[in-house]
Symmetry: C2
């Protein structure tokens, strides 16, 4: 297991972590400058932030600053109620692959979607098995396109509390079942993003990380689970402030040969998004060295 | 699959569902009277409510009203940081078994506990595997006692969002692994409580219900998952107001021969606990007939 205690060469910042600074939106160009200023070598940007700043401009800035990417957030949201919706998701996901290529991302992270309409508060149906079938079909189709572009796809199993509205792939085992079906040869074109927030509770976690192996472990995300957690989406904790044994999980991942970045992804309306982004980045560096 | 549409003979009310009426605490004796007045045949009371009203008095009232029980809530909370804590949990669980016997419950429901201290906001450690080991040992010890009293134990796998503070058994598969280890003969002394709120998301749910079989399916709880869910504990929905395909899951359970009560367990600070309990019970009856 790598020693993170003396530097932060393996730290990446998911740009949602500093999406807001002191409660105000922080544009992506400022985020990139701040990350580089703190000597953080990598980022994982969100599509909406990239779109707001302009893909070409972001790509140029990333290169000028010498930043690497640990992933691109995100593709997915495959399920729909009709062929037009499925086609729209397909087209949008292809654009996400193209953007990931332009930015030099090592993978496109997939938050696969769930019951259509649920995220807006009104699910069109209750058939999660149907959504899961649409997800498998959507990934299969996108995989064909992404292979052509040389862009690996990383399925991110989301915590079961998001099964209704954000992702109906909810365990690492389930994600790997999809990988085995669609990429039995373990080509490296399809794998998983392991976010400790989503999977820490899983009694089969260690076994499934071993099953994933090096070829399927495409990204590793960290934050922490707070007790109590006051919001299902935006109350993630800074590493060390919660109950997740992050080094243990990182050890399992690295035992498989994973040698990529440790990406900090924290959504925190009440706490970290109220702080200044420099303080947040300094804290990420300190915690990366001490508790990850 | 039984037809629930014409009557409510298989309805049970978990007494937490009407713990409050119009925002005020509703004592258990009044709950029991109201349940009986609505022709609801069964309840599942909580220990704190029973303690407040007095065990003997509650037992007498239950018998006088001709109510049955669908379970007793709850034993468990096994993990602790030291031998004294483990012994205290053991003793308290034996008392819970005794109370369940006095009340004529068909099973004692177990919410097994998780990281010691987490429920109070400060976990004593982050070793969920250690808690899981303590849970297995605690159930093994309690099972010996409960068998002597003739009281079946029903492990309730809780949604993974409770893995830190309430229960580190989080899937039906995991609960059944414990059952298979401790009761390989499927004696009926150890099984599971299937609450749709906790398990609806699980891609392996149908297969694990089949694995459980009639001997292990000791209780069936219903409510609904709302989108959005605004609180991790107390924002459960009334059946039909959320995204859970309850009849499908009930069908799987009944395919195994389950013929017990369908128990409504709703914690709802913002909505149902603000309504009058008669309205809540009427709604439970209506939804039991129409969407369960």
């Amino acid at each position: 297991m790598r020693d993170f205690s003396t530097d932060h060469r393996w730290l990446s910042i998911n740009t949602a972590t500093v999406r807001k600074s002191q409660g105000q939106d922080l544009p992506l160009p400022q985020i990139l400058d701040a990350v580089a200023r703190h000597g953080i070598p990598a980022i994982s940007p969100w599509r909406d932030q990239v779109a707001a700043a302009g893909l070409k401009a972001v790509s140029a800035q990333v290169k000028a600053l010498g930043l690497k990417l640990s992933g691109y957030c995100r593709g997915g949201m495959f399920p729909a109620v009709d062929p037009a919706g499925l086609a729209a998701a397909r087209d949008d996901n292809r654009r996400a692959v193209d953007e990931a290529c332009e930015l030099g991302a090592p993978c496109l992270v997939l938050v696969v979607g769930a019951l259509p309409g649920a995220l807006a508060g009104k699910a069109a149906h209750k058939d999660i098995a149907r959504s899961r079938q649409q997800v498998s079909e959507g990934i299969a189709e996108l995989l064909h396109y992404a292979k052509g572009q040389g862009m690996p796809l990383a399925i991110e199993p989301l915590h079961p509390m998001y099964a209704a509205d954000r992702a109906c792939i909810n365990t690492l085992e389930q994600a790997l079942d999809v990988c085995d079906t669609l990429d039995p040869g373990r080509s490296g074109a399809l794998g998983v993003a392991v976010d400790v927030y989503h999977v820490w509770w899983d009694p089969k976690l260690q076994a499934q990380i071993e099953r994933a192996g090096r070829e399927r472990l495409l990204a590793f995300h960290v934050c922490d689970w707070l007790t109590p957690t006051t919001d299902l989406l935006n109350d993630r904790g800074m590493m060390g402030d919660g109950v997740i044994d992050i080094p243990r999980i990182r050890g399992w991942v690295e035992d498989q040969g994973f040698g990529g970045f440790s990406e900090v992804e924290i959504f925190s309306t009440g706490h970290w998004w109220q702080r200044g982004h420099d303080e947040v980045l300094q804290t990420c560096i300190a915690r990366h060295r001490s508790v990850v």
